[in-house]
Symmetry: C2
Subunit: 403 residues, 2 copies
């Protein structure tokens, strides 16, 4: 299709977009921001909320805000706000700490549960193509629990799991290629092997339905600064399946996970429920910025978000195909909807240089070494005209350099 | 001394107070805020700084702020700002995570260093009167490293340390009584036993000189929301002695502690220096609020803060002695300056009820179960007239109830 035809198609798609009004709830500018898979754009309500948190809650109420402003219970209250976006019932998610720290909690707790049933389970299987921090933390969890680490491509998980597997750590979507892994199928396969599964939802929460409860996922973790737009380094979360909560034995039993935190008891006694996933005092400013950011989800169905996400990535691939000379880039992201997250990754040898030039022209994606251009599509604020424009700028930029 | 005479003395002490001008750098009101040992008051510069972080750094620069706004290096840069307050050289402190998580990193890393030299060291000694989270985390660290946990009163540490001791975890000041422990002497004693020491500075950093480098402390952790006024749940920090940094082997080796974090390498290789104490993506809003809060330390010597702190607590005990009927409360905080932090703890049977009534009258301290009234004195914003007024309100309140 010609450039004019695709621009016309973009206008039609935007006109029919039921999520289009959500765009006004974000602070945007003239650039095309396709990096929401790294740091989501700023929701307009955050500034005012945090101004109140600082000036009134901290500045005036001070210590009283732990009760009166609901600071103390924010980790579980905000967890309950994230829950419907990932298909979890209330009381299963708590917010706090970084994704890395939550991966550690989840893996160690999973190994303990697995061994409690069968002491012979001494292997942690981990996605060998994972975002590195998951692999590093898995290695530490293996070392500290006396397990063997088994790195394997997600496609080969079924070949390595068995009676020695304690837990399998998988990414719902590959951070590099955007490939979506089969959460229901892999979860079932891990369960068939008698093991537990931990899913890392960093690249899918807020972009597509996850169905944690429905698929019987044991544990999950995720960050909140990508498609959930919580702000730079906003706290991560941990999900614990309801049936496992009373067996969740955290390696980080801080005072916030105690049954009676203000009892100041020398002996640890774990709280009931997902609160066991809490550790120390929560970082209130970052956490309440996330709380405000979650307001943009009011009235939004995650199914509608998924439908638009697929339409956006389909359209981007179509525009790239039409505009970019054949062979100049390789699309790494699968064409099949069932295998695609909410990003498109393109491989080209001069990706680092190309991305710098795209950013200079107001098309913001990111570069992952050594040769990947990543473009993330956040359905709440990215439109189809943005997509067409980004593909056009990309094509011209690629055409200007040798490749 | 009579009430009038003590009020006159307060006015003289305030007039001679060289730190008095610092009070204007905090948001205060008509109450007497003696709970800065739990949550420090709001420094005036925080609001504007965070408004800029949200609207410009996140809202406009977005992902570029990781470089352009210095987000990525904030943990070590802000660590270097805290360093002079606790007697540490640059490059020894990184900010991030909660105190509990940092206690875990410090203890496990210390056990690994101790065992690397002497595999027979299998005991973690912990202050039995510690703030509970340290004890819970120490128990977990012991369990995960195959050590035995030895809880002991700080005064008895010298009796239990020996060839099996790997590490000793101590609080610089007791959170309940305000007793200051002998950091130089206990550090030397632990070293004489061939073990490492981890100090928890939550109740002393920003209130008195610590001298981490000078006293050869191995590892230290602390929160930043008490005397450092970083805001609710602002990130904690970890100190690693320079000579130990290349042996610091973290149990939480997240991607932020990798030698080349954006290399996205499957194999972990630790960064040089205190950066090894980092884990995942830092919580930028909470961290940069702390950064702004640290501006109040410009031109302040920690020795001057200590001198005023002792004068404040001396004066409070004097006023309490003069105003409160004998026997109505017991002063738990030691009289000797060398054994006193920056708080005064009073025991009375109806402490919970008394504190509620004090707060209603604008004298804000806190209650620690079962029978302790805690009053914290932050020299940067508490004055001597505040102290006299608080003692007067306390005496009247105690007089109105049976006790």
């Amino acid at each position: 299709m010609s450039e004019g035809a695709l621009a016309g198609q973009a206008a039609k798609l935007d006109a029919a977009d039921q999520l289009r009004g959500k765009r006004d709830e974000f602070v945007l500018d003239d650039s095309v921001y396709l990096d929401g898979n790294s740091l989501g754009a700023l929701p307009v309500g955050v500034q005012e909320k945090i101004a109140d948190v600082i000036s009134r809650q901290w500045g005036q109420l001070r210590i009283r805000s732990w009760d009166e402003s609901g600071w103390w219970t924010a980790p579980e209250r905000i967890g309950d706000r994230i829950a419907p976006l990932v298909g979890a019932g209330p009381g299963r998610i708590v917010v706090g700490d970084s994704t890395s720290v939550n991966v550690f909690k989840a893996l160690v707790a999973a190994v303990r549960i697995a061994r409690d049933t069968d002491a012979g389970r001494d292997e942690i299987v981990v996605d060998a193509t994972t975002f590195p921090t998951d692999g590093y933390i898995a290695e530490s969890a293996a070392r500290m629990t006396g397990c063997r680490l088994v790195p394997v491509a997600p496609g080969d998980v079924r070949d390595v799991i068995g009676p020695r597997t304690a837990v399998v750590l998988l990414n719902h979507a590959d951070y590099r290629t955007g490939r979506l892994h089969d959460l229901p199928g892999l979860t079932a396969a891990v369960h068939d092997a008698g093991a537990l599964v931990v899913w890392d939802l960093c690249h899918t929460a807020g972009a597509l339905p996850v169905g944690l409860d429905a698929h019987g996922v044991d544990l999950a973790v995720g960050c909140t600064y990508k498609y959930l737009n919580g702000g730079p380094g906003s706290p991560a979360y941990i999900y614990v399946r309801e049936e496992l909560q009373d067996r969740f034995d955290s390696p980080l039993p801080g005072w916030n996970s105690h049954a009676e935190p203000f009892g100041m008891r020398p002996r640890f006694e774990a709280a009931d429920g997902a609160v066991r996933g809490r550790v120390g005092t929560p970082d209130i400013l970052s956490m309440l910025a996330l709380d405000a950011a979650l307001d943009v989800w009011d009235g939004v169905s995650i199914e509608a978000v998924r439908a638009k996400s697929l339409a956006l990535t389909d359209f981007f691939v179509e525009c790239v195909g039409a505009y970019v000379p054949a062979g100049r880039v390789e699309v790494l992201t699968p064409a099949a909807h069932a295998e695609r997250g909410s990003q498109v990754a393109l491989r080209c040898q001069d990706a680092g240089d190309v991305m710098r030039r795209l950013v200079d022209q107001g098309v913001v994606g990111d570069f992952r070494a050594p040769d990947v251009l990543r473009f993330g599509f956040t359905p709440l604020y990215v439109g189809f005209a943005d997509v067409e424009r980004a593909a056009g700028v990309l094509a011209r930029t690629l055409g200007e350099s040798a490749g």
